[in-house]
């Protein structure tokens, strides 16, 4: 499958390259894959990109960490407490339906041009994704498994540790894939709208001088980072969710 996926990507890039070289696509507006690759390479060599990338990654990592921590904590709290869940429900829905971009200028005012206004924006995105998934994950726990643990003598804390968290983990993980991507997008948007550093700032600068190659180069770097981080999450997930039946694992004594 990977071969086919790579093939598709390569042919799309080739078509773009051919189109731009033949003049079907205007190089000014569309740039060219070879130019973009060259630009990325140059930026890496001169080291111009590392400071920006570092800032963006730091912001994304902070907003991801804070968002996940808050989301998991609140998700558990509300899943275990019907009253709180009912109380907060409408507010959470409203808050979640708010387009986050409109918050960016406000956060700029509140937290300044530095990294924290971007982190705040990222947190508002990550939090809701993780929160709703945790809530769902804890609620979907098989009641028979909970009953079994209770009968075996589990206290409320042991129940959370041995049953609810592991059971919610697969939901939380599925949300991590999405929320990592969104964390990066959110901080880049934040940078784009007002910052002194970061990939988003870099793209905004390039756009300011109609440097399409620069814009695409920024996007290419972002895409690479998202792919790499996603692969990391995949590996972590495979380790932590080893107990799940997988189709590819059917063999030996697995009968089910």
């Amino acid at each position: 499958m990977v071969v086919w996926q790579l093939l598709l990507g390569a042919s799309l890039l080739a078509a773009w390259q051919a189109g731009a070289s033949a003049g079907v696509l205007d190089k000014f507006f569309f740039s060219r894959p070879s130019d973009i690759a060259l630009r990325v390479w140059q930026m890496c060599l001169t080291g111009a990109v590392w400071g920006h990338l570092g800032t963006t990654l730091l912001e994304a990592a902070l907003s991801f960490a804070i968002g996940v921590a808050l989301g998991v904590a609140c998700g558990f709290a509300l899943a275990r407490n019907r009253f709180l869940a009912a109380l907060f429900d409408p507010y959470l829905r409203v808050a979640n339906s708010l387009p986050r971009v409109v918050l960016a200028p406000i956060f700029l005012l509140w937290f300044g041009l530095g990294i924290w206004s971007k982190v705040a924006l990222g947190v508002t995105v990550v939090f809701f994704i993780v929160f709703f998934n945790t809530l769902q994950g804890v609620r979907e726990v098989d009641p028979v498994v909970v009953h079994n643990a209770r009968m075996l003598g589990a206290s409320e804390r042991q129940l959370i540790r041995h049953v609810l968290i592991p059971s919610a983990l697969s939901w939380i993980f599925s949300s991590l894939h999405i929320s990592i991507g969104f964390a990066i997008i959110a901080v880049v948007v934040g940078e784009y709208l007002g910052a002194a550093k970061g990939i988003g700032y870099m793209i905004a600068q390039a756009e300011g001088v109609f440097d399409t190659t620069g814009v695409f180069a920024g996007m290419a770097i972002l895409a690479g980072v998202v792919l790499a981080v996603g692969a990391g999450v995949d590996r972590l997930e495979r380790r932590l969710l080893r107990w799940k039946a997988r189709d590819s694992q059917a063999g030996g004594e697995s009968v089910s």
């Binding site: 498994v145 079994n148 009968m151 075996l152 592991p166 107990w243 799940k244 009968v255």
Partner: protein, 247 residues
């Protein structure tokens, strides 16, 4: 027990002598699981009370173990991890708990599978893990809800034999729910028949005086067994037919 819009069981007065093996049979959906859940303290009756050794039951029944009708192992724990749960919850020290768990893994014959996850085991193996998981806590009462309902006939007879062996070794009070009358007679000292739902009641109690030790593989062909079977089936048959009509 009244659920919104449905009364499952009503007016049931059932006492179990300590150390006996009692089976409850009844048509599907009559409220057998509901009865066990109430006795285990997982739901409280809408009217009436449960007493355990003379004490009114509040909250989860700490004196009881429960083998559920459905698969109830923790899928994210290995065989060893699942069997360790009881000791871990009770705060037994790591080394001692593990030694106990290993002993139980040996007793149920799963030494080679102690690091397998439940989805890598056959149905019979999962039931054996559940058995060890329940028994390791050494509860005074054990509830079993159609524990072998999902197993094939041969595995089932083997498991019945294993249950009888365990019970003979430990002499616990067992309440065993099943819809299979043969299984009920083969295992128990007494069989209780419930009427068809809704508002199921006790239809009759039948002592089973077959000699022990029994071998569930052979007992079903003996003449005494058939005699007991016929006398109980006369009553159960009527309830099963009623439950069909009501569907």
């Amino acid at each position: 027990m009244r659920f919104p819009g449905y009364t499952a069981v009503e007016g049931i007065d059932l006492s179990v002598a300590p150390g006996t093996f009692l089976s409850v049979v009844g048509p599907s959906g009559c409220g057998k699981s509901t009865l066990l859940n109430m006795a285990a303290g997982l739901m409280s009756p809408s009217a009436g009370r449960i007493e355990i050794f003379g004490q009114p039951l509040e909250g989860v029944n700490r004196k009881a173990g429960y083998m559920f009708q459905q698969d109830a192992l923790l899928p994210w724990k290995t065989v060893l991890g699942n069997i360790l749960l009881g000791p871990v919850f009770a705060g037994v020290a790591g080394g001692k708990a593990e030694a106990e768990a290993r002993e139980w893994i040996r007793r149920v014959g799963l030494e080679r599978f102690s690091h397998h996850y439940p989805h890598q085991l056959s149905g019979g193996m999962r039931k054996r893990v559940a058995m060890a998981q329940t028994w390791i806590n050494d509860p005074e009462i054990i509830f079993m809800d159609e524990p072998f309902g999902a197993l094939d006939l041969h595995t089932r007879m083997r498991m019945e034999g294993e249950i009888l062996k365990l019970w003979a070794e430990t002499k616990k009070t067992v309440v065993f729910v099943t819809h299979d009358l043969e299984e009920a007679i083969a295992l128990s000292d007494e069989v209780v028949v419930l009427t068809a739902g809704p508002a199921s009641r006790i239809c009759g109690r039948y002592p089973v005086n077959l000699k022990r030790p029994r071998n569930p593989m052979d007992i079903k062909t003996e003449p005494e067994f058939s005699a007991v079977y016929r006398s109980i089936w006369r009553d159960l048959r009527g309830e099963v037919l009623k439950s069909y009509e009501r569907e």
